[in-house]
Symmetry: C3
Subunit: 214 residues, 3 copies
């Protein structure tokens, strides 16, 4: 099945990006494994917990868990040569983003949810693994500060939804959404497209203490 | 129903505080929406996941999700004039805190839990949206470092519980608890009341590395 | 029952380490209680939510929740003398780590899961309370940067599993795993044993902005 292949590519790529993040924080091997697993499988887990969709994917298929651990371990071994592969990574990550989005969206639809909830499920699956990774590495999640990322996940959901609504067969819809979202992401990276930012500053005198007045 | 109106006011106010937090971190529009949703709906989601109370509110009523997104979007547009409205905000936020607390407490009681669990459910619903917001914005959650906040949520639960125990009708209990908690919070803000703080310092020589010795 | 006694010692010790962490961040009493509860009960809650094992321990037994609050409160009172007790703490914490691991592993096995999932459940129960504590206190979780900790939890799971496989009775298995894991942890602390670290650095020119290129 096409989606399974994409899923495997996606979790492998995400596990590797997670491992590199952990390496930037000089974590030990165990931490690297954990960050890799969370990055790869966290998005799906968040979606499943919020929708009450049990058992979670990695509980049902522990082999995916072992795959991400293996990917993390390989990353440790080949990290030296990793930076020459950065572009390949960005492409795999883009493929993963759209793949995760489609899978999340599909699961919510199968559970009988409507457009809004399945859109949220799709975007959550696509982006929240990376968000948890950034929280564990103590960064402000960069998903919200770089080129178009979460928004491409959202646009892919809309594309997927429209294709299904106009009666396109499922297989074709998946392929079309993949190509569409993947191309969008490549364009966004190439041209450095960004969402408009919302910049807000309190002009109080107590600037130091008021950085996050509730 | 009174509680629904309060709930809607509360999630709108919380969504706006979330959007402002995101703006202080210069996030893009998508990040602003997500932080707004998490701040407004995260408390209830944490409670529901921990109590196993499915489906979550926003899954059952996706319109609340759209309301918080709309509130976030409006916040982006009117942010310039926001600081003149700070006091109104603090009042709405106080109303939201008590409203969330009552709702969380009531849901736990309806599920048949006792005082301790329903108190935890009430306080969690009241404060954890703000905590997740602060984590995503990479701050130490300020809930624990400002004027009385979480503790007012807790005192409101006690008030609510006592009213029910002495046989006050539910409607009256809700109104009484709201007025009581809201007044407490206003008094706390006005006089800058704070909980006693617990300050602990290791006096080790290895001070740099031991900031968080487990 | 042996495990219940260990569990109570473990949550008390973990609550105290949580309270001290909160004190290092000058949180108010309410924050101290919350951090203590999350540190003590968070690991089990994460495991239960991920496995769909409801109700959570503290929902079923609210007395454990009150115990952790009491432990946090006592910690505030006796913090001054705490640093003389550091070694006792490290031992209690080690006992807690192994106890949590065994409990988590056992619950997953009782639910019918295989080795991989029960290993994850054991390690999660052992370490994720401390991880959430560090996130709430805005630190990079130190679990991954100190002496052997998570890995000892993992080795204990393997020991537990092997003992059961070779037909050792449950009681004996629990005691043997406890002694084995506890000794390992003590050795690791005494000799300062650490996992190998994975250190990765981008050698880009845009070093400041690329600290976490996805």
């Amino acid at each position: 099945m096409l989606l399974t292949i994409i899923y495997i590519i996606a979790i492998t790529a995400e596990a590797m990006t997670g491992a590199l993040s952990a390496g930037r924080r000089s974590m030990d091997w165990f931490g690297v494994m954990l960050i890799a697993c969370v990055t790869a499988l966290g998005g799906g887990s968040v979606r499943d917990v919020l929708l009450g969709h049990y058992p979670l994917t990695w509980v049902k298929h522990p082999e995916y868990l072992m795959l991400t651990c293996a990917a993390a371990f390989i990353t440790i071994l080949i990290a030296k040569w990793m930076r020459h592969l950065r572009n390949i990574f960005l492409l795999l990550d883009a493929l993963g983003l759209i793949g995760f989005t489609i899978i999340g969206c599909q699961i919510a639809l199968q559970m009988g949810h409507g457009f809004v909830v399945s859109a949220v499920a799709g975007v959550l699956t696509g982006v929240s693994g990376g968000i948890i990774r950034d929280i564990l590495c103590n960064d402000v999640p960069l998903v919200f500060r770089r080129e178009l990322y979460a928004s491409i996940s959202f646009v892919s959901v809309i594309c997927y939804w429209i294709c299904l609504e106009i009666g396109m067969p499922l297989e074709l819809t998946v392929i079309f959404t993949l190509v569409f979202g993947f191309s969008l992401r490549c364009i966004a990276i190439y041209f450095g497209l960004e969402m408009p930012k919302f910049i807000y500053q309190d002009d109080d005198s107590d600037s130091a203490s008021s950085t996050d007045r509730h």
